[in-house]
């Protein structure tokens, strides 16, 4: 009797294990059945995912998940945000605690392969830059030889700085400070000649912490590539497709000039591309396994990519970041969507 129970239990475990693997392709169905998306975000990063004074999540990473929820369920609020620390983010995805990691994660080969993630695209192109006081008259990072540079330890930022200095024969004196508040204090009090971190972070610091923001400038050199994007687990291909094309639809919408307010109006357009995107000409929704209104709903929920950008990190936000690399491909940037057709 006992041995029978053990065998049954073992068989059940085995079945569950095998089923688990076979079911991985059916992630999208599991999410549909659950009725909401579990979206892993950071515990607080200005402009990307942060809770506002009312406890509501805002930011680009957050809006990506809202857009996907709108595409899938027709309602941008059918998403549950799970704040994750840097340590837990990948296991949270692997263990199924979240469906998608939208947590300012840099898209790298190692993460895409060895960690078993599938990145669905790049939602924000970031890169490491330098900030100096204008009165130093430094116009390029190559003139920083012998200068003290404030940098946070333990990140790729510190390694990038050392690599770039060696490659360009510029001898920096790094001043390593752990806490963000302290490093900003050190830079603005003149302890360091320059401060290096991701360009978005530099701009945010300048906007909110500089005594006079106009006294400081970012140098033109961007010394690393930090493409940030959402990731899902290997094997969740249909689910990855939905995220990828929802985001692409937002970029495409900006190219067509479709804003959140103008979605219904644009449905009357004669442009066949717009008609396909907004589901007037059916087909694209069926390919993804969602309603034909998917892109229209996503745009209505968060706006097109440009609106999303300006609201969270651009002109409409306290961060006041330029579009830079994140401008559309036909406007001087590299934000480019494959044809949504």
């Amino acid at each position: 009797m006992l041995s029978k129970t053990i065998i049954a239990a073992a068989a059940a475990t085995l079945t569950a294990f095998v089923a688990g693997q076979a079911m991985a392709g059916a992630k999208l169905d599991a999410i549909k059945a659950r009725g909401e998306i579990l979206c892993g975000v950071s515990t607080g990063l200005a402009g990307f995912s942060i809770a506002d004074s009312q406890g509501k999540w805002t930011g680009i990473d957050v809006d990506v998940c809202r857009a996907v929820a709108a595409a899938l369920f027709g309602d941008g609020n059918k998403v549950k945000f799970v704040p994750l620390s840097a340590q837990q983010r990948f296991t949270a995805l692997q263990s199924g605690e979240v469906d998608v990691l939208s947590r300012n994660t840099t898209y790298t080969q190692q993460r895409d392969t060895a960690l078993g993630l599938n990145f669905t695209g790049v939602t924000y192109y970031d890169g490491q830059g330098f900030m100096v006081a204008k009165k130093t008259n430094v116009k390029s990072a190559k003139e920083l030889g012998g200068a003290t540079v404030c940098v946070q330890p333990g990140t790729t930022t510190e390694l990038n700085l050392a690599d770039w200095g060696r490659a360009n024969k510029v001898a920096f004196k790094p001043v390593v400070i752990e806490k963000l508040e302290e490093i900003e204090q050190a830079f603005f009090s003149g302890r360091c000649d320059a401060y290096t971190t991701d360009a978005s972070g530099l701009a945010a610091t300048r906007a909110s912490k500089a005594p006079k923001p106009d006294d400081y400038m970012l140098l033109p050199e961007i010394i690393s590539k930090e493409p940030l994007g959402p990731a899902v687990q290997h094997g969740d291909d249909q689910w990855a497709d939905l995220i990828r094309w929802t985001f692409n639809a937002l970029v495409e919408a900006e190219e067509y000039g479709i804003t959140a307010a103008k979605v219904e109006e644009m449905k009357k357009s004669d442009n066949p591309g717009i008609k396909r995107l907004l589901g007037v000409t059916p087909g694209l929704g069926k390919n993804l396994g969602v309603s034909e209104e998917w892109a229209a709903n996503a745009i209505k929920a968060v706006g097109n990519y440009g609106e999303m950008y300006e609201r969270n990190v651009g002109k409409g936000s306290p961060l006041k970041l330029d579009r830079g690399l994140n401008a559309l491909w036909n406007a001087g940037g590299i934000m480019y969507s494959p044809p949504v057709r």
Binding site: T43, G44, I50, S53, G55, F81, P83, S85, S95, E97
Partner: protein, 385 residues
């Protein structure tokens, strides 16, 4: 000096009183002669006793005044009390921005709990604090205490989760701020305390299996940092579970905290058990009491009383340790504060944030410490001279 001068009848009245006081007569407590009390004399004796003391006093006083004045200027004179946006505060760089706290303190206290439902965690926090305060009253130390906590927990549960009586359901992922800190510490300690008593008794047991089990558990848990237990619970555990099966993150943290607290409290309680003289055990045995009765009636009441200071010390340490859940992305008081500092609209008021958080933690820890002092005095009346 003649003989009669030494007789009591010839003494001055105050000398007589002094003699009586020396002889231990209770009614003869005599005020010191004039000029030997009061703050002026105290200062002369303790602060300006010698030239060196005087110099040190003056120097330290000057430093204190300087620092105190600087803080006062920052916190009161130059402070911005009301402002609609952070720009008003940034323009006034030399002073504190209390407008920031007006804007952000509710967020630090409630985290990401839905805005419209914030009255629920408010009630839960007040309820827990009220229960803690009334538990401090020794007249409550009977079945009423247990009943109150059971009812209190049930009400808190319903309020926090909702989903019944028309309250919208709020999952633990949205909980944040003070209620999270309170629930984590109170529930974990409540769960850990009975466990700790059993572990402490088990460690002193004569049965080898039980003893080994208890020693193994205590040493294993105590031998690793709390943070590694939390990471085990939040990062490793989900990997061992079959896919699709997830245990609530908050619950996992709560269990990790309870285990950790149990191991530490067990060692504290064991210290109390060891301090009970052997005669007490033997006397209980001689009365024919069973192990259960002996422990319950004789040993534990004495042992627990002895370990009140270290127990409270552990409680206080533990209350602050809950802030480590930062590492696993739970929005406790500290995490919510750190998030508030980073909000782009109100970015960069770290001093105000940490002062506020420190004040909240201090109020709780200081009350616990004062209460333990009172309790010690009250329970140890028999030991005092």
């Amino acid at each position: 000096m003649s003989i009669d001068q030494t007789l009591p009848g010839s003494l001055a009245p105050e000398d007589k009183a002094n003699l009586q006081a020396a002889a231990g007569a209770p009614e003869a407590i005599v005020a010191p002669p004039g000029g030997t009390g009061g703050p002026v004399l105290w200062m002369r004796k303790n602060l300006f006793g010698s030239l060196r003391d005087s110099i040190i006093t003056v120097l330290l006083g000057a430093v204190l005044l300087y620092v105190g004045w600087g803080f006062f200027k920052w916190a009161v004179i130059g402070a911005t009390w009301t402002a609609q946006t952070a720009d008003a505060c940034r323009a006034n760089a030399g002073g504190a921005c209390w407008a920031y706290l007006v804007e952000k303190a509710p967020f630090m206290l409630y985290g990401t709990y839905p805005f419209e439902e914030r009255w629920r965690p408010t009630i839960v926090s007040l309820l827990i604090i009220a229960m803690l305060v009334s538990s401090c009253d020794r007249r409550m130390w009977n079945w009423r205490l247990a009943a109150m906590w059971v009812v209190g927990f049930a009400v808190s549960w319903i309020l926090m989760f909702g989903g019944v009586f028309g309250l919208p359901y709020v999952e633990t992922g949205l909980w944040g701020g003070l209620p999270v800190t309170l629930i984590l510490s109170v529930v974990a300690l409540a769960a850990a305390f009975p466990m700790a008593i059993l572990l402490a008794l088990g460690r002193r047991s004569n049965m080898p299996a039980i003893k080994a089990l208890c020693v193994g558990f205590i040493e294993l848990i105590r031998g690793v940092p709390l943070i590694s237990l939390l990471i085990m619970a939040s990062v490793m555990l989900p990997l061992f579970l079959p896919e699709g099966v997830t245990i609530d993150k908050f619950l996992r943290a709560l269990v990790a905290f309870s285990l950790f607290a149990a191991a530490y409290l067990a060692e504290v309680i064991r210290g109390g058990l060891q301090a009970i003289p052997k005669g007490q055990y033997e006397a209980a045995d001689a009365l024919g009491l069973s192990y259960r009765l002996k422990t319950q009636m004789i040993i534990l009441p004495q042992a627990l009383r002895l370990v009140i200071p270290p127990l409270v010390n552990t409680f206080i340490g533990f209350f602050k340790d809950t802030s480590l859940v930062y590492i696993i992305g739970i929005y406790d008081l500290l995490t919510a504060g750190e998030s508030a500092v980073k909000d782009p609209a109100w970015r960069g008021f770290a001093n105000e944030t940490y002062l506020f958080l420190a004040a909240v933690y201090f109020i709780f820890c200081f009350s616990m410490s004062r209460y333990s002092q009172y309790l010690e005095r009250d329970l140890n009346k028999s030991h005092r001279r």
